[in-house]
């Protein structure tokens, strides 16, 4: 086993509605969707139009900048709608699913002996490529680049996150194949990072990967934090990251030749009646999962976790990278003198709420920001939840000032939005840290 790394700065936000260990089979929804908005900076080039028939694995649209990167249909069926928004930007491609999924078949036999180029071609054509995220800036991986290393975080420490040892149970063989494929993609190391107190037996059969054991609270499960501790990104470096569930997709694809994106996700949160694991498929409409499962109407449905997820409608679609749906109450109500005498418990890092901070176990959290946006006043706060060797407040200020050189010097290429989500959570001045950082990352990506 590799080295042990202890994360001290951070916090676990414990929320009500944690999933039970049951895995339910969700009813297959009528529609599925792939949303170009899930991919940062993507301008899609459409390959299909409304009414077209597709098989699982057929290309729906490609990246305009590199049309080899395909985004494919997760199911077979008919293109029901191409949803467009402002200035005709494509928001989603909806597919009316067949009752039986028909797969486009890919020739993956003998993958063990395939070269890097052949493997890349298959990943690109099958639509699995976008699961690989490239740092710096969290973009789609560039197939022409050989990354310094590939990092996989073997656990998720976010609030209400899936325990991967449950959601990936039975996928051990696929994981093994998937990691074999990853090893072909880099001449550097493939890192797998696990947590000291979380079950990581699903990874036991892996060979040739560099295992590192982390301990401590969230954000210990964020791959950005792990990279910073193991082998930090320097200026000019490129590393790739991918989540274990997506490694399993890759493994299954090479084993079978079919793009089978079945996955087990978590549906959780205080407003969910039966918080549990549900077996479903990538891109599924969440309507079936939430039907008769949400306890009131005024809720926020989030694809992903409460810190970094995306707000979706109750009949919206699971995001491309997400394996979790969180449902929490909206906080759109006034609270009299709430800043002084809070009328209900709320999660906090601040010792000004000793009862909540030290005695309350789990919280029913809502979307009220509990205060208004202000200029920076308090200091030393972000540092308490930022385990990376980075000066968080100075970095955010440099982005606000659009000082590209300073941003780079302060290591903006080491972080993506999720790495600073906890900073945003604890911020007394209610600064939209992730939005600001996102602007900075975009600026940097344009420049480079």
């Amino acid at each position: 086993m590799g080295q042990n790394i202890k994360i001290k700065r951070g916090m676990d936000i414990k929320l009500e509605g944690a999933p039970s260990l049951d895995i339910h089979q969700a009813n297959s929804p009528a529609t599925f969707a792939v949303k170009p908005t899930d991919f940062k900076g993507l301008v899609p080039k459409m390959h299909v139009k409304q009414g077209d028939k597709v098989k699982a694995g057929d290309c729906l649209f490609a990246d305009k900048k590199n049309d080899k990167i395909c985004f494919t249909a997760p199911v077979s069926g008919e293109i029901a709608e191409v949803v467009r928004g402002d200035r005709r930007a494509i928001l989603a491609v909806k597919i009316l699913a067949d009752s039986e999924t028909a797969y486009k078949s890919f020739n993956t036999s003998g993958f063990v002996d395939k070269s890097r180029e052949e493997v890349v071609e298959l990943l690109l054509a099958s639509g699995l490529w976008p699961f690989i995220v490239q740092r710096p800036y969290g973009l789609l991986a560039d197939p022409s680049i050989a990354p310094k290393a590939i990092h996989v975080s073997g656990f998720d420490s976010a609030p209400l996150a899936a325990d991967l040892s449950i959601s990936l149970k039975g996928q051990e063989a696929n994981l093994k194949t998937g990691f074999e494929i990853l090893k072909k993609l880099t001449e550097g190391k493939v890192h797998l990072n696990v947590h000291a107190t979380k079950d990581s037996s699903i990874y036991n059969s892996l060979e040739g990967v560099e295992k590192t054991i982390f301990s401590g609270p969230h954000p210990s499960g964020l791959v950005g934090v792990q990279i910073n501790k193991i082998d930090p990104i320097n200026k000019g470096d490129v590393v790739w990251t991918i989540k274990p569930q997506h490694v399993a997709f890759i493994g299954k694809f090479f084993e079978t030749g079919n793009l089978d994106l079945e996955q087990t996700i978590v549906v959780a949160g205080s407003e969910i009646r039966k918080p549990a694991y549900y077996a479903t498929r990538l891109g599924a409409s969440v309507s079936e999962l939430l039907m008769d499962n949400v306890s009131n109407d005024n809720v926020r449905v989030i694809s992903g976790n409460v810190l970094t997820g995306t707000k979706i409608a109750q009949d919206g679609y699971l995001g491309y990278y997400d394996n979790q749906i969180s449902v929490i109450p909206e906080g759109d109500h006034f609270e009299m003198l709430g800043w002084l005498l809070p009328s209900y418990p709320r999660p906090t890092l601040s010792s000004t709420f000793p009862l909540f901070k030290f005695f309350k176990k789990t919280f029913k959290v809502n979307t009220n920001p509990h205060g208004e946006n202000r200029a920076y006043v308090v200091t030393g706060q972000y540092e308490k939840v930022m385990p990376m060797n980075i000066m968080p407040q100075q970095l955010i200020k440099s982005v606000m000032a659009k000082d590209l050189e300073l941003m780079e010097n302060l290591g903006i290429y080491e972080v993506i939005e999720e790495d600073m989500a906890l900073c945003e959570f604890v911020c007394t001045s209610k600064i939209d840290v992730q939005r600001v950082l996102s602007e900075g990352l975009e600026l940097m990506a344009e420049e480079s």
Partner: protein, 393 residues
Amino acid sequence: MKFLRDQVDKLKPTFSEGGKLSFLHSTFDALETFLFVPNHTTKSGGHIRDGIDLKRTMFLVVIALLPALLFGMWNLGFQFHRATGLEASLLENFWYGLLQTLPIIVVSYGVGLGIEMAFAQFKGHPVNEGFLVTGLLIPMVMPADIPLWMVGLATAFAVIIGKEVFGGTGMNLLNPALTARMFLYIGYTPEMSGDECWVPIADGIATVDGYSGATTLGNVGVASANGTPWSDSLLSWGTSAMDSILGTIPGSIAETSVVAILIGAIILIATGIGSWKIMLSTVLGALFMGGVLNLAGGNAWYDMPAHYHLIIGGFMFGTVFMTTDPVSAAQTERGKWIYGFFIGLLTVLIRVFNPGYPEGIMMAILLMNVFAPLIDYSVVQSNIKMRLKRVKA
């Protein structure tokens, strides 16, 4: 709550854009959000946020200030009755001090909040809570005998020149409350220093034999100039070191009691709002410099034991409530250590080597406020260098 909310909703259109009183929009908004945390929800990024906000933060600082303020009020009465030899009960002492202090507080808040709200309205941003603290700090560091118009003038100066010209709360370089005090100290020195200003005694009221309103700082300064050696008799008239700790000595309204200020310090540190790093390093800086001077020896100032620096003058008040202002202090964690240490060190240096200024902490803090960005800059540079070094390695 429902009733109150309905009333606010009824009034709201009058103060909103297009309403009759729309020029008071910012003021209304400040009061509304004071009464009710708004019904907003998160729009971008994370969906949930911590319960803490700036209102709560600032309010807790006000709470931490209260022990020192209440003690200061009582002490004013106590000092008056001690000077005049009159008997008075605890309540009478407090009442006397309350009457002296309240007008100063009212003027400070009135002028400061008035200007803040006008600026907020003019610039179209919400009123920031920072002045809740500044507005109380200003009276607390004034001598009780200060004319009210001076308080008003100094507050206006501090808010406009000290803060708003830099862009408002969060952007200021100097601690606004100390800016106000410095303004008066330089512009109206007689009213801000000497032996008379600390305990207001109206003309015609006799004081007891031997009475002097001089502070310890003043006494030691005179002794050093005259070549009188250090002894406990240089402490303020008729007091002991224990009085200096308890605070039953003349001084600015709320600066005298080490005990009351330490209660505030405990509140600030326990809630995580005040930086213990800055407080501790300031104390260490003063002890270090005081210790070095003790070793050198020479006059009364040199020989005064280093720990006496902590209990006389405004040292404790400045250390707990002024150095820890997060906006004007160093903002990096390592920078905070350096910043505090130099404040303590400079305070002692100014006290001992500058006969023109009996108290050093105000100058020391303002000076280090100016240097804080430089300290932060060097800390940030070291982070940058670490990153560059990694590339080469």
